[in-house]
C-alpha cells in the first residue's frame, strides 16, 4: 500500500498541542509517520480544517434495543432512504438508521470511532454482529452492570475484590470495553414495578443502594486498571428536580486516576432539571457545571435538538414514564439477571416549554463548563437527536447570534427558565476539536491506541473539512460551519480514504476494541463455585455458551491490563 501525504493542512490537534498550524501529514500502513515513502498519493488540504477522526463517546447504534427501535418504527425506516450507489449499500431510517446508514452518515461527518453506549451482556453477540456491519468506524461497547445480581450481592457483602472479579470475567466474556451503569438499581427495581428515587434508596430484595453500587464500581474499575472510567447514567433521568440526585452522585466521586477522570457522567442534560413538576421545570446547568469544574469528572452534553427521534435506554422505568406522557407505542424489556431496556419514539417540539428548556440546558452545560475536556459533545444519539444534528450543535456553540436567532422561534418563557441567552461565550475551533475527538479519546483512555491525535505513531484517522478557519467567522457564517462539518472533503480511516465529499468510496474494515483484565486464578469467576452455581440455576443459557467467541470480532483489538488484585 502506498503512502498518503496530506499537504498544507490546517491542523488542530489538542492532544499534541497543535492549534492551527499549516503542515503536512504523512501516512503509511495505517499510521501517521515521519515519511510517507516513495510516490505517495498526495491530498491537497490547503485551506481545509484538518482534525483527528471524530470519536463519539456515547451513541446507540448497534445492539438489540437499537434493532427493536428499528422494527417498532417502520415510519422511521421510510425516512432517510438512499439508493445503492457505488460501494454504498441501500440505507434507510432517520433516527434509527440501518447499520450501514449509521456508518456512512458518521463517516461523511468525519467520525471514525464510536462507543456503543449500552450493551446488555446477555445480548452481546448481536451487538458484535452489528459492529461488523458498521464497517467504517472502530467500535467499542459499554457493558451494562446496573442490575447485575452477582455484582449487587458482592456490593452488599462489601467485597470489592469480588465485584472487580465479576466485572473482569463479564467484560472478557462479552468482549466489552467499559463499565456502564444505567440508573443503577433502578432497572432491577423496575422488574418489580418500582424505581429508586435517589441514590440512598434501597434496591428491593438486594439491600444495596445506588450510591453503594456506584462507589464500589468506581473502585473496582481502578482495581482492574481499565482504560475508561465508570460510565454512569445517573438515577432519576428526566425527572424535574433531579439535579439534586446528580449533585449527590458527583459528591461520591473520589480522584483515583491521575491520567483521566474517575467518573464519566453521560447525557448530563437529562440530569440537570430543577423544579418539581413539568410545569415549573427549570435549568440547573450552572449548579452541575460548578460541581463538575475541577472535579475528576467528564460529562457529555446529551443535547436535545428539535424534531422527531426515538429514545432508547436501558433505563426501563424512565421509558415507562415517558410512555405515560405520550401514550404512543412503547416497549420495555427485561434482560435476565442483568438489566432491562425501553424504547419509545418522541417528537421534540419548539412549542413545548419543557423541550425548549431541555434544548437550552444542553448548550448551557457546554458553555458553562470551563474546561472543554470536561464536557463533550453528544446528543446521546438518538435520544436527544440523531447524530446528523452534530454540525448544528457545533454552530450553536460557536455563535451567540445563532443561539439568539433560534431563541426567537422558541417558547418565550425559555429565557426565564434558563440562562442560555445571557451567555456570551462562543467556542473556538480548538475547543470544538476537544469536544468532538480529543476529549473523547482521553476520556475513553484510547490515546495509547493512537486515537484522537495526529502525532507520529497515531492511527491515521483524519477528518479533512472544507472549512477555512482563517477565512470563516463562525460567529456569523453559521450555515458555512454547518455545511462544512456535515460533509468532510476527505475522511481517512486507518490510512485509507473512506469518504470523499460525503460519499463513501471503499468497503470498510473496522476493528472492535475491547478490554480484558487479567486476574489471579483465585479470582477467576469461571472457576468460582458460587458464581457458576448461580449461573446454572438462574440463566437460560449455559455458562459455556455465554461468552462471545473471537470469531464474532474479525478484527478485535484487545486492551490487556493487569488487575491489582
Amino acid at each position: 500500500m502506498s503512502g498518503i501525504l496530506v499537504r498544507n493542512a490546517f491542523v488542530i490537534d489538542p492532544i499534541k498541542r497543535i492549534s492551527g498550524e499549516v503542515m503536512d501529514i504523512a501516512i503509511r500502513d495505517g499510521w501517521v509517520v515521519e515519511d510517507a515513502g516513495p510516490d505517495p498519493v498526495v491530498i491537497d488540504a490547503s485551506g481545509c480544517l484538518t482534525l483527528p477522526g471524530g470519536i463519539d463517546s456515547h451513541t446507540h447504534v448497534c445492539g438489540t434495543k437499537v434493532n427493536f427501535g428499528r422494527y417498532m418504527s417502520p415510519e422511521d425506516m421510510r425516512a432517510g432512504r438512499t439508493a445503492r450507489r457505488g460501494v454504498m449499500h441501500v440505507t434507510s431510517g432517520y433516527s434509527v438508521p440501518t447499520t450501514f446508514g449509521n456508518s456512512y452518515r458518521y463517516s461523511a461527518m468525519g467520525y471514525t470511532t464510536l462507543l456503543e453506549g449500552a450493551m446488555a451482556p446477555l445480548e452481546a453477540r448481536h451487538t458484535h454482529e452489528e459492529f461488523t456491519a458498521t464497517p467504517h468506524q472502530d467500535m467499542l461497547a459499554n457493558t451494562l452492570f446496573d442490575g447485575n445480581w452477582s455484582v449487587m450481592e458482592a456490593v452488599r457483602d462489601r467485597d470489592i475484590k469480588r465485584v472487580a472479579a465479576i466485572v473482569a470475567w463479564t467484560l472478557s466474556a462479552v468482549k466489552g470495553f467499559a463499565i456502564k451503569l444505567t440508573n443503577p438499581g433502578g432497572t432491577e427495581a423496575w422488574g418489580w414495578g418500582q424505581d429508586v428515587r435517589g441514590i440512598h434508596d434501597q434496591v428491593p430484595h438486594f439491600g444495596v443502594t445506588p450510591a453503594e453500587i456506584i462507589s464500589a464500581m468506581i473502585e473496582a474499575n481502578e482495581i482492574l486498571r481499565l482504560p475508561h472510567s465508570v460510565h454512569l447514567h445517573c438515577n432519576n433521568l428526566g425527572v424535574p428536580g433531579n439535579y439534586r440526585t446528580t449533585l449527590a452522585t458527583i459528591d461520591l466521586v473520589p480522584d483515583l486516576n491521575p491520567l483521566r477522570q474517575s467518573l464519566y457522567l453521560t447525557h448530563a442534560q437529562f440530569h440537570a432539571y430543577g423544579g418539581s413538576t413539568w410545569r415549573d421545570i427549570d435549568s440547573r446547568a450552572e449548579a452541575i457545571c460548578q460541581a463538575v469544574n475541577g472535579k475528576p469528572i467528564v460529562m457529555d452534553m446529551g443535547q436535545v435538538m428539535f424534531g422527531r427521534t426515538t429514545t432508547m435506554t436501558a433505563d426501563g422505568p424512565m421509558e415507562w414514564k415517558l410512555y405515560m406522557l405520550h401514550h404512543n407505542k412503547w416497549s420495555n424489556h427485561d434482560v435476565e439477571l442483568e438489566t432491562g431496556s425501553g424504547i419509545i419514539p418522541v417528537y421534540y417540539s419548539r412549542k413545548s416549554l419543557v423541550n425548549c428548556v431541555m434544548w437550552a440546558i444542553g448548550l448551557e452545560l457546554a458553555l458553562l463548563t470551563n474546561d472543554p475536556w470536561q464536557c463533550l459533545l453528544s446528543t446521546d444519539n438518538p435520544n436527544g437527536a440523531p447524530f446528523v444534528k452534530y454540525p448544528e450543535i457545533i454552530a450553536l456553540l460557536m455563535s451567540r447570534r445563532y443561539r439568539e436567532q433560534e431563541g426567537t422561534l422558541l417558547d418565550p418563557r425559555t429565557s426565564h427558565r434558563t440562562a442560555i441567552f445571557s451567555i456570551d461565550r462562543e467556542l473556538s475551533w480548538e475547543e470544538i476539536a476537544v469536544m468532538t475527538r480529543a476529549g473523547q479519546a482521553k476520556a475513553l483512555g484510547i490515546t495509547g491506541l493512537g486515537k484522537g491525535h495526529l502525532g507520529v505513531g497515531a492511527a491515521a484517522d483524519l477528518a479533512i473539512y472544507p472549512l477555512d478557519p482563517d477565512g470563516i467567522d463562525p460567529a456569523v457564517q453559521v450555515q458555512e460551519v454547518i455545511a462544512g462539518f456535515s460533509r468532510t472533503k476527505y475522511t481517512i480511516k486507518r490510512g485509507r480514504v473512506v469518504a470523499r465529499d460525503g460519499e463513501v468510496i471503499v468497503e470498510g474494515a473496522n476493528a472492535t476494541i475491547w478490554s480484558r483484565s487479567d486476574v489471579p486464578s483465585q479470582y477467576d469467576m469461571g472457576q468460582d463455585p458460587a458464581f457458576t452455581e448461580k449461573f446454572s440455576q438462574y440463566y437460560t443459557v449455559r455458562m459455556k455458551n455465554y461468552p462471545v467467541q473471537e470469531a464474532y470480532l474479525p478484527r478485535g483489538v484487545c486492551i490487556r491490563t493487569e488487575a491489582a488484585l
Binding site: M72, S73, P74, E75, D76, R78, N328
Partner: protein, 256 residues
C-alpha cells in the same frame, strides 16, 4: 392541457409500476418522466402511449387521463396538489398518497391504500377499493388528515384506519375493523361493517347498514334523529372506545 396515457401491452403485465411521477404538475415540464417497472427504471413513453392536447400554465389546468391496463400502476397522484387525474380502468395501490389538492376520478376499482395520509383534495372511485383506504401507513399514527374520498362500491378491511381529518364516504359495505384508531374526521359507511372503530379517540363514524360484532367497549348514549344522504333516520349513538378513554362517536342506523 389534457395528457392521455394509454398503457402499452407489457411482457410481464403483473410487474408493479412505481408511478409517483404521474401527477399533473410534472406534465407542465413535458412528458420526459421516468417510472420504475419492477427494479428497472423506464421512461414513461416505454410504458404508455402519450398524447398531449392543449396548453397549460399552471397545474390546475392539467388533466391526466389513464387508460388501459393500469391495475398494477402504483402511487399515481402521490403528492399531487392541483389538477385532475381520470383513470378509466382499475388503478394500483397507493393512488393519491399524501395528495393535498386537485381531484382523482377512478371509473373502476382501486387497489389498497387509496388516498393514504392524504391532506386535501378529492378522490372519487366509481367501483370498489381494497384494504386501508384513507389509512395511515405502517407505524404512522395519523392517517388521512383532510379532503374527501368517496367510494360508490365497497371497501376492504381497515377503511379509515387512523383517520384524523377529512371525510371518507363508502356507499357499499366494508370489511373488518373500519375506522379503527380514528382520531378525527368523518367516516360514513352505507352498508355492512364488522367490528368498527376499535380504539377510536375522536371523530365520527356513521353506519347506515348493519354492524356485525359490535365491540363491547362502546358506551350507549341513546337514539337520535339524524339526516344522512337526504334520509331521515333513527340512529343508535355510541361513544368510545372507552377502553382507552376515547371520545369518538359511532352512529348506527336502528333496525338494520
Amino acid at each position: 392541457m389534457r395528457v392521455t396515457l394509454v398503457a402499452r401491452p407489457r411482457a410481464k403485465p403483473s410487474l408493479p409500476v412505481e408511478a409517483e411521477s404521474i401527477i399533473p404538475q410534472n406534465f407542465l415540464r413535458g412528458t420526459d418522466l421516468t417510472v420504475y417497472e419492477g427494479n428497472k427504471e423506464r421512461r414513461l413513453e416505454e410504458l404508455f402511449f402519450i398524447t398531449v392536447e392543449g396548453p397549460a400554465v399552471s397545474p390546475d389546468q392539467v388533466e391526466v387521463v389513464l387508460m388501459g391496463a393500469t391495475g398494477r400502476v402504483k402511487r399515481v397522484g402521490e403528492y399531487m396538489n392541483a389538477g385532475r387525474i381520470v383513470i378509466e380502468g382499475d388503478i394500483g395501490m397507493h393512488c393519491g398518497n399524501f395528495m393535498s389538492g386537485g381531484e382523482i376520478v377512478i371509473k373502476s376499482n382501486a387497489d389498497a391504500w387509496l388516498g393514504r395520509e392524504m391532506r386535501g383534495g378529492r378522490i372519487t372511485c366509481m367501483g370498489s377499493t381494497s384494504h386501508n383506504c384513507g389509512a395511515g401507513y405502517r407505524g404512522e399514527k395519523r392517517g388521512m388528515r383532510g379532503g374527501t374520498i368517496e367510494i360508490f362500491g365497497g371497501a376492504g378491511d381497515f377503511a379509515g384506519e387512523y383517520l384524523a381529518g377529512g371525510e371518507v364516504r363508502i356507499h357499499g359495505s366494508c370489511g373488518d375493523m373500519a375506522g379503527i384508531e380514528m382520531r378525527g374526521g368523518l367516516l360514513v359507511i352505507g352498508g355492512t361493517v364488522t367490528r368498527p372503530c376499535g380504539n377510536m379517540t375522536a371523530g365520527t363514524a356513521v353506519v347506515l347498514g348493519h354492524v356485525n360484532r359490535m365491540l363491547p367497549t362502546f358506551q350507549y348514549q341513546g337514539v337520535n334523529d339524524e339526516v344522512w344522504d337526504g334520509k331521515r333516520l333513527k340512529m343508535d349513538v355510541w361513544e368510545g372506545d372507552v377502553a382507552n378513554r376515547g371520545k369518538g362517536r359511532l352512529l348506527v342506523a336502528v333496525g338494520k
